[in-house]
Amino acid sequence: MSRSSLLDKLLVLLTWVVCLLLIYWAWREATGEGGVSITLLPAPDAVFKELGHILSTGAFIEPWEVTFYECVMAFSWAASVGLALGYVISRSTYLVQVFEPLLASLFTVPMVLFFPLCVLYFGLGPNSKIVFGFSVAFFPIVLAAISGFASVESGFVQAARSMGATRWQMFHLVLVPAAFPVVLSGLRMGAVLTFLSVLGSETLGSLEGLGHAIHNASMDMNPAEMYAYIIIVIVIAALLNLSLGVIEAIGNRRYGVTEGE
């Protein structure tokens, strides 16, 4: 890395830190003497004390395990069904013409409207969150798979065919790497939406999980605990985003998509 780009990175990092400090300062000012009621926004010290308590007692672990399980299940189903179905549809222009617009318009329907139905069918436990998370994350993944696999340049396929590629070789040496960047961005979006919808649905109707803990704290009139859990979720979301970015970078390097120096 060159010296100037390192400096640029440091500057960006520094700006982030300054922004965080500004938020902290504004938060503290707002909750000071004559400020916002503590039932709406407790002082940062109270929240961080509560956060410390939650972390030291490990109270967050059990809800986190539930939420994590729901996210993994929802995403795995959405990814496997979405990719398989998207690939099959992409193989026929007719199927693409039939299903692509259908799926694209379904994607815009706010699935949260069906969450009460999910609870009705699958109960208040993790299953309703898994089904709901699946129903949200499935669409960007299947759409990306269709467009990724259907738009593979015909020149690549023809070249491989002229050199005698078998069906399996065509799939894993040509179609998969060619579709990879588009498919990966769909998976990334699916992962983020899974996390959002699982947490959101936990706050709407559940018995356990991080979303439930947030909802509970607010019902208990314990805003400090609620904000402490929100901070935990924000940190997890940031970590999720970071790891997705790393996975994407590794994948892109594997398939030579990144710009060469």
């Binding site: 020149g155 023809q158 070249a159 002229s162 030579g256």
Partner: protein, 289 residues
């Protein structure tokens, strides 16, 4: 095969017709009409003609990427039925190198398709890259190379397959004139060195005369071969050939043959031709340059 051809025939096309779409439908295209053509072993044959005249179609038939609606195509005395990667390699116009593979990997993967062993793949990759002068760029990605280098890499991939026949579909079509000239010279040297059979689709009159042993001129759609012109000049051809009287005469002859077909194929230039012959000549020459 029942055909009694002698051993020196590489490809024999008999009465090949290629139609796309159903007859009567708006998508119906009669791309090639009862075309016959023989290609001798070790010969450089150029196919030239107006856009959409079926020259690429004929090439894809010979390579087994398409199957003729009627008629037959034999390669080395064997009826063709799908791609024959052990006999025929392709060089396409552009975008046939995989952007997710390096240049060396692109060649390696082609050999993988052919089922070549790993050690042999490494040897052939190295050799073919050296033969087109790209050894130093083995680990570059296609997008890091110029258009001319990419087409060299595509040629290296075709050479690595060690086939007797190479089909080239406007391989230099996207390159600038200077690069084309150098590529053409290199190709002529390659011909002299390896004695491969090459069939080459081009739009360029000069390129056709410079490279070909024979030039097959196509008529406008529905395509068929109108005439074949012989270029009696041994490979490797020298740059001085371009300025020789022979070259100029052949090029002019080719131009005359093609001009009528161009006018037929392009309504625009046809119209000008009825107004002023000079104008038509100019506009056609622009298209052919």
């Amino acid at each position: 095969m029942s055909s009694p051809q002698p051993d020196d025939l590489a490809i024999q096309v008999e009465n090949a017709t290629m139609q796309f779409g159903k007859e009567g439908s708006s998508l119906f295209v009669n791309a090639l009409l009862e075309t016959s053509l023989t290609v001798k072993k070790g010969e450089f044959l150029c196919l030239i003609g107006p856009s959409g005249c079926g020259k690429s179609t004929l090439m894809n038939l010979m390579g087994g990427l398409l199957t003729a609606t009627s008629g037959s195509v034999d390669v080395m005395g064997q009826a063709i039925n799908g791609p024959m990667p052990d006999k025929i390699a392709f060089v396409f116009q552009e975008n046939s190198l995989f952007p997710w593979n390096t240049i060396a990997e692109n060649i390696d993967v082609g050999l993988k398709f052919r089922g070549v062993e790993k050690a042999e793949r490494a040897r052939r990759t190295k050799e073919s890259l050296a033969s087109v002068g790209l050894s130093e760029f083995a680990d570059h990605y296609p997008r890091q190379l110029s258009g001319g280098m990419r087409q060299r890499a595509a040629l290296a991939r075709a050479l690595s397959l060690e086939t007797d026949i190479i089909l080239m579909d406007e391989p230099f079509g996207a390159l600038d004139e200077q690069t084309r000239m150098i590529m053409g010279e290199d190709l002529s040297h390659l011909m002299a060195r390896t004695g491969k059979t090459i069939i080459f689709v081009t739009h360029s009159l000069g390129e056709a005369v410079y490279l070909a042993d024979r030039v097959a001129i196509f008529s406008a759609r529905p395509g068929r071969i109108k005439r074949i012109i012989d270029v009696n000049e041994s490979h490797p051809r020298l740059p001085s050939f371009v300025t020789s009287e022979k070259f100029v005469n052949l090029r002019n002859e080719l131009y005359r043959e093609l001009h009528d077909e161009m006018a037929k194929a392009t309504p625009h230039s046809n119209k000008i031709a009825t107004v002023s012959a000079d104008g038509a000549q100019l506009s056609s020459e622009d298209e052919l340059a």
